[in-house]
């Protein structure tokens, strides 16, 4: 069983501060949906409104089509996994997992059996009688997931649950979470500030800034076609050029910058304002200038990072630009101080407006 979640014009105010501003999103049953944004962008507030710990100031939240207004967290078909997991330290693992069943009056033998089943599901058999303090970070993580799954929620809410783990474990748990979600078919809402996590795990991502949802799309779309400068620069790296839009035609425009005239895709820009965003991996370094979009640069700093090579170069006007070259043997590593040209494909650069914020 899983349910869809609909947020309609949801706002949340804390005093005079508007934490969430007019959020509209429709999450499908069984979807893995992530809210991605920097801290303080309102993503946790959305999660707490869905779970019922905060009532929205305005707007409607529906779970499975039912309006959740006035429903306490213990009445909602959701299960929240806390950032610090919030396991019950004084109970053994199996009681932790079966706490939700205990509350529902399930008898002890059934609870125990269910706990063992769930421990198997999260790949942690034999831990039933251990105490929380005896488990490692990753194991605690699994117990928290099992505890949430025990109540058979229609929606799982995860509040940056991987942020306390080390890198290797985090990557492992990403795959694990994704697998558990697919196995159980429960709708997952995942909160994170880590773009890698959001892109790797989610069916769709909602990028947030300053209480507003900036873009909702699948991970590829978010990365390849960000709608505005905030999404572009929060998800991935960019070379950013300020300038002025000139001669727009059929989705392309030429853009006047201090570095010269460039051509690029034109986003939802009103008037002439906007910035040009070029991903470092979409740039090329060559000894001779191409037909268009070429900037003369001096190679400043070359760092070899294994699978790719990052080159920081300085343009004639003094701006630092970054280029990322794949280490596939074809790219020659530029020499320090070399005079070269950085160029990019017009179709892979975009002129975008700034973030969608309150005016």
């Amino acid at each position: 069983m899983s349910a869809g979640i609909d947020l309609e014009n949801v706002c949340c105010d804390f005093g005079t501060f508007r934490a969430v501003d007019n959020a509209n999103v429709s999450i499908k049953p069984g979807e893995f949906f992530s809210f991605l944004g920097p801290s303080g962008c309102g993503k946790t507030t959305i999660l707490r409104m869905v779970s019922g710990f905060i009532e929205p100031t305005q707007g409607t939240i529906r779970i499975g089509g039912n309006d959740m207004k006035g429903q306490r967290p213990n009445q909602r078909p959701t299960a929240l996994i806390f950032q610090n997991l919030a396991l019950f330290a004084l109970m053994p693992i199996w009681e932790n997992i079966s706490f939700g069943l205990e509350v529902r009056g399930v008898d002890k033998a059934t609870r125990r059996r269910k706990a063992e089943e769930l421990l198997k599901l999260v790949d942690l058999p034999g831990a039933a009688d251990k105490m929380v303090s005896q488990l490692s970070g990753g194991q605690k993580q699994r117990v928290a997931i099992a505890r949430a799954l025990a109540v058979e929620p229609q929606v799982m809410l995860l509040d940056e649950p991987l942020s306390a783990l080390d890198l290797k474990l985090r990557q492992h748990m990403r795959a694990e979470l994704r697998a558990i979600q697919k196995r159980t078919g429960v709708t997952f809402i995942y909160i994170t500030h880590d773009q890698g996590e959001a892109l790797a795990m989610s069916d769709r991502v909602g990028v947030m800034s300053q209480g507003r949802i900036q873009q909702i799309a699948d991970p590829r779309e978010i990365y390849n076609n960000p709608v505005n400068g905030f999404v572009a620069s929060f998800v991935g790296e960019n070379n950013i050029f300020t300038g002025e839009v000139q001669q727009a035609a059929s989705g392309m425009a030429s853009f006047a910058t201090p570095h010269g005239q460039f051509r690029a895709r034109l986003g939802e820009v009103t008037g002439k304002a906007g910035k040009l965003y070029v991903r470092p991996e979409h740039t090329l370094l060559s000894a001779t200038a191409g037909a268009e979009n070429a900037i003369p640069v001096t190679v400043g700093d070359v760092s070899f990072e294994g699978n790719f090579i990052t080159v920081h170069a300085t343009s004639d006007s003094g701006a630092t630009l970054t280029s990322e070259l794949r280490n596939d043997g074809s790219a020659t590593v530029p020499a320090l101080g070399a005079k070269m040209f950085m160029s990019f494909d017009a179709a892979r650069a975009a002129i975008l407006p700034d973030a969608n914020v309150r005016g």
């Binding site: 779970s51 967290p73 806390f82 706490f99 509350v103």
Partner: protein
């Protein structure tokens, strides 16, 4: 110790150690040992002290079993030594005080630790502390006035219409004593519990609610187990202080409420029988300690939990 030496030098360290040693030895150990020794000797005229009748025995301790009175419990009448009766009633009502303090303090502690806006917490704590600035005697007398036959409490209850005739609060057995002791010692219950609950991660409470637990289940399974050391240390403290209180039973007691400390005090100061009085004092100390130990064992509380 080395830290102390490094910081303050040998002179100051020596003075500090000597002062602590003096305090421990002369103000705690020696008086107690003296009384302990006295409690085994008979109460004799000065001329006979050190004479042939001045020998060690447990007679002073056995004196608690002298003097039978008739008492009744659940309608059954039985004979009981008067001081044993006083002792048992002291223990019983100290327990009542501890339990009532717990019932008062737990909700307030939870409110202070988890619900109240942190900004108003200092004001709240100040309000709780202000009564402590007044001396214990004055506070007991204040209650004596409040509980008086024609006092404000009766006036209020009469005005509201809850009672038809004024109640003799301080003449109803232990009622006045229990009220006075609760007022005097409730903060000793409040703060250990407050500290314990405060250290509980609020997310655990929310997690329990999220998993569907009603409020009482959250308290029973999450908050109370976590606060158990605080509850235990509060209960031990209030129980021991109540059982050892002399002032409140003396002021707020009735003709029918004898506290064991009053018995000890009368033997010391009225009968001037220091020997028997010390025996009673040690009996109170030993039996209360025993009682607390048994209670702690029953509730599976370790001494190290309380010391936290």
């Amino acid at each position: 110790m080395q830290e102390l030496l490094r910081r303050y030098g040998s002179g100051l360290t020596l003075i500090m150690c000597l002062l602590v040693a003096f305090w421990l030895l002369m103000l705690v150990i020696v008086p107690n040992i003296t009384l302990f020794e006295q409690s085994f000797r008979p109460y004799l005229p000065v001329s006979e002290i050190g004479g042939p009748r001045d020998v060690y025995s447990a007679n002073n301790y056995l004196k608690v079993f002298e003097g039978q009175v008739t008492s009744s419990l659940f309608g059954i009448e039985f004979e009981i030594p008067v001081r044993v009766r006083t002792f048992l009633l002291t223990i019983w009502y100290s327990m009542v005080v501890a339990v009532l303090c717990l019932m008062l303090a737990y909700p307030l502690a939870y409110y202070m630790a988890k619900i109240v806006n942190p900004k108003s917490l200092p004001t709240l704590i100040l309000l709780l502390f202000i009564p402590l600035w007044v001396s214990e005697v004055l506070r007991a007398f204040a209650w004596w006035i409040i509980l008086a036959f024609k006092g404000p409490l009766n006036a209020l209850l009469l005005a509201v219409g809850l009672i038809e005739d004024p109640i003799r609060w301080t003449n109803m057995g232990f009622t006045g004593v229990v009220i006075g002791l609760i007022y005097t010692y409730v903060l000793f219950m409040l703060f250990p519990i407050y500290n314990a609950i405060q250290s509980l991660d609020t997310n655990q409470i929310e997690a329990a609610e999220d998993l569907g637990a009603p409020w009482w289940k959250i308290h029973w399974r999450i908050v109370i187990p976590h606060a158990k050391p605080g509850i235990a240390s509060g209960c031990v403290m209030v129980f021991m202080l109540s059982a050892g209180s002399l002032l409140v039973p003396s002021i707020l007691g009735s003709t029918t409420s004898q506290w064991f400390t009053q018995t000890i005090n009368e033997t010391f100061n009225d009968a001037l029988d220091w020997n028997t009085a010390s025996a009673y004092a040690f009996l109170l100390l030993i039996l209360c300690t025993l009682f607390v130990s048994v209670a702690m064992w029953l509730f599976r509380v370790k001494l190290s939990d309380i010391a936290k």
